[in-house]
Assembly symmetry: C2
Homo-oligomer: 336 residues x 2
């Protein structure tokens, strides 16, 4: 029996497409399988002006070839004037805030959020969502949990500001998600599948090393339960973050798991295993469209229940990236 | 002003010297700076008979050249007869038990310990110490703490058995150490210095990856406090565990930190920074001599307060090993 699912307009709500040759390699790998993605602005230097954003979008567009793929652009958070935000508004889906710009710990975080208050207030008025990498600079296993007070503070101070807790990894973050109407969240593929045991419980596995770091089994289980039940405020965001092999299998290995081209079949495998395929469409598309009020693209991606072996690497333009679970066989694949 | 300390008969109470070419490379690196070491039996196949042990000791002796270095040999734990243990007794300092032979969790652990009861009883009668790698197969951050119940059980069932909790990493293990007279412990250099943050808080650092994995800041602080105060039941055991570079900077990185040739100056630096140099002799030698009733070798190792840069690697016999903190400069060095 052939088992097949057609995903309607799948979105990746948190994606790193890099720049230059790495962008040329990975952008089409997302564009082939998703109808759009939220593009993170953490280039060097960061995407922190409309001019930079439009130029980056142009480079991305050229890298996409003929793929039909919507680029939901983001600005890098800093203090912006109302004029700047008015000009940028129609070009962005939100503004991404990184903790270095906010906080070294909870107390400073709040102090710095006060410094950012004017910009956040304008964003609230202009209905520009805030996307946050919510980690303090504390002990690596505690960073997200320590940041929850800052999320709470933001949610209370800016009740009309749409705040997305990006790539959440803990049961505690899920709990907070349900406490405030204006909080939303994305979760990655890897945080639905692995714990710190997979990264460092046996051999150390650099290709599973990411930030926030994978947490405890009870955290992974809570995230799974929320995604598999189609939690209406939880969206898929791969945080797919390619690094060249030499930066991963090295003396100091960069954080980031590359999942974009294999995320959908791996999600299908996970959702099917838990008899939750009914909720995959909500997780991969409907929730995000509703939360952000996005128009639906006329793009479907078909998956079939047929084994696929994940490639050992993706290479091109002089770049080489190893995906999560390279060389492993999974039970779903793309139809094409 | 020249600052110098002379360590009297320093011992490394937990050392992996491997076999073959790696042994030829690393054995002299320990022998040069220590008066003796407890040699772990986890070769492939393990050192689980007197014949294998004597043959291994012979290979080690040949690898030591003319260094004056006492090899305190251990057998790999399994069920042994009284006759076997009587024959082995004068050749070993103890028997090393690995958790795979004991437990997959606390409950099974106790069951399996009952299976091992006869051997443990004979060891108790013959005054052969038990050295234990105390980790369950649970979540990587919990493995040692989960094993504490097994230590407690062993300490109660075999009150005359000398039990060494090897390479402890948690404040909880230290607490248990003080509860039972027949419990002792070793601690490594790296667990006195680092936390999981150093392994995975920034870039992932394979050369700091070891088992048990480095824990939380409060654990590291408790271990430091015990070592720096000269806790009478705590001994230095480096767990120095060389792996070839290709097994460390790899897609799946082997656990083990190589510290033997730089442990003493790094310990001097740590103890001096905390104004605890007075207690270094107890930690590095006196406690172990007293606990195991060892004869004192007439060997001193002199350290001077003079900067030394840790080598990028140690190489020879076709092997190449990267030490902890390679290329970093420390404030103490050997006098030679």
């Amino acid at each position: 029996m052939l088992m097949k699912i057609e995903l309607d307009s799948p979105l990746d709500m948190h994606l790193h497409l890099r720049d230059g040759n790495m962008m040329r390699l990975v952008a089409p790998l997302s564009a082939r399988y998703f109808s759009g993605a939220v593009i993170m602005p953490n280039l060097v230097p960061p995407v922190n002006s409309l001019e930079k954003l439009l130029a980056y979008k142009q480079r991305l567009t050229e890298a996409l070839y003929s793929y039909d793929f919507h680029l939901y652009m983001t600005l890098f958070f800093q203090n912006y004037t109302e004029e700047e935000l008015l000009r940028a508004r129609s070009h962005i889906i939100g503004i991404k805030l990184y903790p270095a710009g906010v906080t070294t710990n909870s107390a400073n975080g709040v102090a710095n959020i006060l410094q950012a208050e004017t910009t956040l207030k304008i964003m609230e008025e202009l209905a520009i969502p805030l996307l946050v990498h919510g980690e303090t600079h504390g002990f690596v296993m505690d960073r997200e949990q320590e940041f929850l007070d800052i999320y709470r503070d933001l949610a209370i101070r800016f009740p009309k500001l749409k705040i997305s807790m990006e790539h959440i990894t803990t049961a505690a973050a899920l709990k907070l998600l349900d406490e405030f109407e204006n909080l939303y969240a994305t979760v990655t593929l890897q945080h639905l599948l692995i714990t710190l045991d997979d990264v460092a419980g046996g051999l150390l596995r650099p290709h599973l090393f990411c930030k926030p770091i994978a947490k405890r089994p009870e955290d992974r289980d809570a995230l799974q339960q929320a995604a598999l039940s189609g939690h209406p405020k939880l969206m898929f965001g791969s945080d797919s973050a390619p690094h060249p092999v030499h930066a991963k299998e090295a003396c100091g290995c960069a954080a980031g798991v590359f999942t974009a081209p294999i995320a959908l079949p791996m999600l299908a495998e996970l959702f099917e295993r838990h008899h939750a395929l009914d909720h995959l469409q909500a997780f991969i598309s409907d929730n995000a469209h509703r939360i952000y009020g996005l128009p639906r693209q006329a793009k479907t991606v078909s998956l079939i229940r047929q084994e696929m072996t994940i490639p050992q690497k993706y290479a091109g333009f002089g770049e080489r990236v190893v995906p999560m679970n390279a060389k492993q066989t999974i039970s779903w694949s793309y139809e094409d």
